[in-house]
C-alpha cells in the first residue's frame, strides 16, 4: 500500500503560513503509517540521497543535500562549527609591549588570526594538553578527578604539538620623517616605519621535524597577510613569541575551522489558482528577483505568474499579507532539502571540511561501539 505521489509531497513540505508553521516533524519512522515500511535501509538511502553543488571555492562551498533528515544534517553542521581541529595561537609570551594596546587585548586579537600551512604538517600535529596551572590547586584537583589519564608527553611543548611564531616590530621615524612633519605631512605611513603591525610580520620559527613538514611554501602563516594587529608610533615596540596548538571550536571559537557553516531548507511556492494580469506583476514583486516569472497565458491572453526558481526565495511571506494572494498561494519548505553553506577560514578547503565532519561523526560511532563492547564484557 504505497502512498500517492500527492501524499508523499505533502509529507515533504513544512507549511509556512502568515503567523505559524505546521507539519514540522519528520514522520518517516516505522509504525507511523499503517502498512508502510520506513525502517532503515542503506540501499534505499543511497538511491534517495542527492548531492548537488552550487558553488565550490576554497573559502565558500554551497551545495544541496537532498534526502537526509534534519537530525543528521544538523550533526554535520554542529561538527563543522565545534569539533574539527585547527591550529591557532594559544599561548603568547610578551617580552615587550609599549604600544597603547594592552597585553591581554593584544593577545586575544592574536588568537583570533586564522593560520594556515602545509596540510600534511597540520595532520601530523598532535594535541597539546595544557597542564593545570601550578598555582591553582582547584584546577589540579579537577584534572585529577576527571579520571583522564595524564599523558605527560602531550603536556610538554614539542615539535609535534606546538608551533612557534615570533613577532618583533619596532616603530621608528622614517629617514626624512621629521623633515616631512615640519612641512605639515600627517600621513603616518610616510612619517614612520612600522606604524601599522600586520599579520604578515609574523615569523614562523620551525622546531625539529617542522623544518620538513612545514617547508616552504607550506610554512605556518596567517591566511590573510593584511590583518591589522596594532598601530605604533616612534619608540613603541611589540616583541612577543606565540605558541600555536591544535584545538576545537567547542573549546574556543578561534579554533573553529569555519567562519560560518549553516543550512537552510529549499523554499517551495505552490500557486493554487492562476494569478493574472496586474496581479501577476504585483505577485512577482512580493518575491526577490528571479523567483516568479511572467509568461503569456494562452487561455486569457494575459500575463500569468509562474514559479521559476525557489532557490532565490527568502520566504519573506510578503505575498500572504495581500488579500488577493493569500488564498491562491501555499508557501513551504522542503523538509529534506538542505542547502548547506560552508565558509572556511582558510586553514582547510570548505568542501574538504564537510567531508571531515562526516568522517568525524563516523569516528564518534566507532568510538562508542568500542565502548559498548567493553561495557558488555
Amino acid at each position: 500500500m504505497a502512498p500517492s505521489q500527492e501524499e508523499l509531497e505533502r509529507r515533504r513540505i513544512v507549511g509556512v503560513h502568515a503567523e505559524h508553521v505546521d507539519n514540522v516533524s519528520s514522520t518517516d519512522f516505522p509504525h507511523h503509517y499503517l502498512g508502510e515500511d520506513h525502517s532503515w535501509d542503506v540501499d534505499h538511502f543511497r538511491n534517495k540521497l542527492q548531492v548537488k553543488f552550487h558553488k565550490n571555492k576554497p573559502f565558500e562551498s554551497v551545495f544541496s543535500l537532498v534526502g537526509i533528515d534534519a537530525a543528521v544534517a544538523n550533526a554535520f553542521r554542529r561538527i563543522l562549527l565545534a569539533e574539527l581541529p585547527t591550529l591557532a595561537i594559544e599561548d603568547v609570551f610578551v617580552f615587550n609591549n609599549t604600544s597603547i594596546i594592552q597585553d591581554e587585548v593584544l593577545c586575544h586579537r592574536l588568537g583570533l588570526i586564522p593560520l594556515t600551512g602545509s596540510l600534511e604538517g597540520l595532520r601530523w600535529m598532535r594535541w597539546y594538553k595544557k597542564p593545570p596551572p601550578a598555582d591553582d590547586p582547584a584546577a589540579q584537583a579537577a584534572a585529577r578527578a576527571s579520571g583522564e589519564e595524564f599523558d605527560s608527553a602531550a603536556s610538554v611543548p614539542s615539535d609535534n604539538n606546538t608551533v612557534v611564531m615570533d613577532l618583533n616590530v619596532k616603530c621608528e621615524w622614517a629617514p626624512d620623517g621629521q623633515k616631512l612633519a615640519k612641512q605639515g605631512e600627517r600621513d603616518p605611513e610616510k612619517l614612520y616605519v612600522n606604524s601599522s603591525v600586520y599579520a604578515r610580520q609574523f615569523q614562523f620559527v620551525p622546531q625539529g621535524n617542522q623544518e620538513k613538514y612545514f617547508a616552504e611554501p607550506g610554512q605556518i602563516r596567517p591566511v590573510n597577510p593584511d590583518v591589522l594587529i596594532a598601530k605604533l608610533r616612534p619608540g613603541q615596540e611589540i616583541s612577543l613569541r606565540c605558541h600555536c596548538v591544535k584545538g576545537i571550536g567547542a573549546d574556543h571559537a578561534k579554533f573553529s575551522p569555519v567562519a560560518t557553516a549553516s543550512y537552510r531548507l529549499l523554499p517551495s511556492i505552490t500557486i493554487k489558482e492562476p494569478i493574472l494580469g496586474q496581479d501577476a506583476k504585483k505577485f512577482a514583486r512580493c518575491f526577490p528577483k528571479g523567483v516568479i516569472e511572467l509568461v503569456d497565458d494562452e487561455a486569457t491572453g494575459e500575463k500569468k505568474a509562474v514559479v521559476k526558481d525557489t532557490m532565490k526565495d527568502t520566504v519573506s511571506r510578503e505575498c500572504l499579507r495581500h488579500d488577493e494572494f493569500k488564498d491562491k498561494v501555499a508557501l513551504g519548505r522542503y523538509r529534506d532539502h538542505f542547502i548547506f553553506s560552508v565558509e572556511s577560514t582558510g586553514q582547510f578547503e570548505s568542501d574538504a571540511l564537510f567531508l571531515e565532519s562526516v568522517k568525524a561523526l563516523k569516528a564518534k560511532c566507532q568510538r562508542f561501539k568500542r565502548n559498548l563492547a567493553d561495557l558488555m564484557r
Binding site: D37, I68, K369
Partner: protein, 138 residues
C-alpha cells in the same frame, strides 16, 4: 604557564596513528567506559549515559534508532546544560535486546556516513570538472 619552556623533540613512538580524522581524542589509552548503564534497566528497556556528548550525536543516534522497527521508543536528553553528558533511552518490543539495538544504531549511522561521503565526493568531482574556475585553489 608562568614561564617560557624549552621545546623538546617528540619522544620516539609517541606518534600515534592519526587515521581517525577529527576525533579529539587520539591517544590509545584514552578509551574509557563512556557508556554507563543507569539503574532500573532491563534487556528491553534501558538508558545509556554518554559522557562528553551533546545534540550532535544524541539527535542523530535517536533518529537512526527510531528507524529500527524493533524499537518501541527512543529519545535523548541533556539533563543539565552545564554537565557535558547526554542520556539516551531505548525501549524495544518483545524480546529484542536494547544493547543490540544500540549497536545496530551505531552501525547504521556509520553506513549512512559512508554513503554521504561517497555521494558527496562524486558530486563534487563532477562539479569541479565542469566548472574549472572552482579548481583554483588558495
Amino acid at each position: 604557564m608562568s614561564q617560557d619552556q624549552e621545546m623538546v623533540d617528540a619522544v620516539p613512538g609517541a606518534e600515534v596513528d592519526g587515521s581517525e580524522v577529527g576525533e579529539p581524542v587520539r591517544e590509545k589509552q584514552r578509551i574509557r567506559v563512556l557508556v554507563a548503564q543507569l539503574p532500573g534497566s532491563t534487556d528491553t528497556a534501558a538508558s545509556f549515559e554518554f559522557e562528553k556528548e551533546d545534540h550532535t550525536l544524541g539527535n542523530a543516534l535517536r533518529y537512526i534508532i527510531m528507524k529500527n522497527p524493533d524499537v518501541e521508543f527512543c529519545g535523548y536528553s541533556i539533563p543539565h546544560p552545564s554537565e557535558a553528558r547526554m542520556n539516551l533511552r531505548i525501549q524495544t518490543w518483545d524480546d529484542v535486546n536494547v544493547y543490540d539495538v544500540l549497536e545496530k544504531g551505531l552501525n547504521d549511522l556509520m553506513d549512512l556516513c559512508d554513503v554521504v561521503v561517497d555521494k558527496f565526493t562524486i558530486s563534487r568531482d563532477e562539479f569541479n570538472a565542469t566548472n574549472p574556475e572552482s579548481e583554483i585553489r588558495a
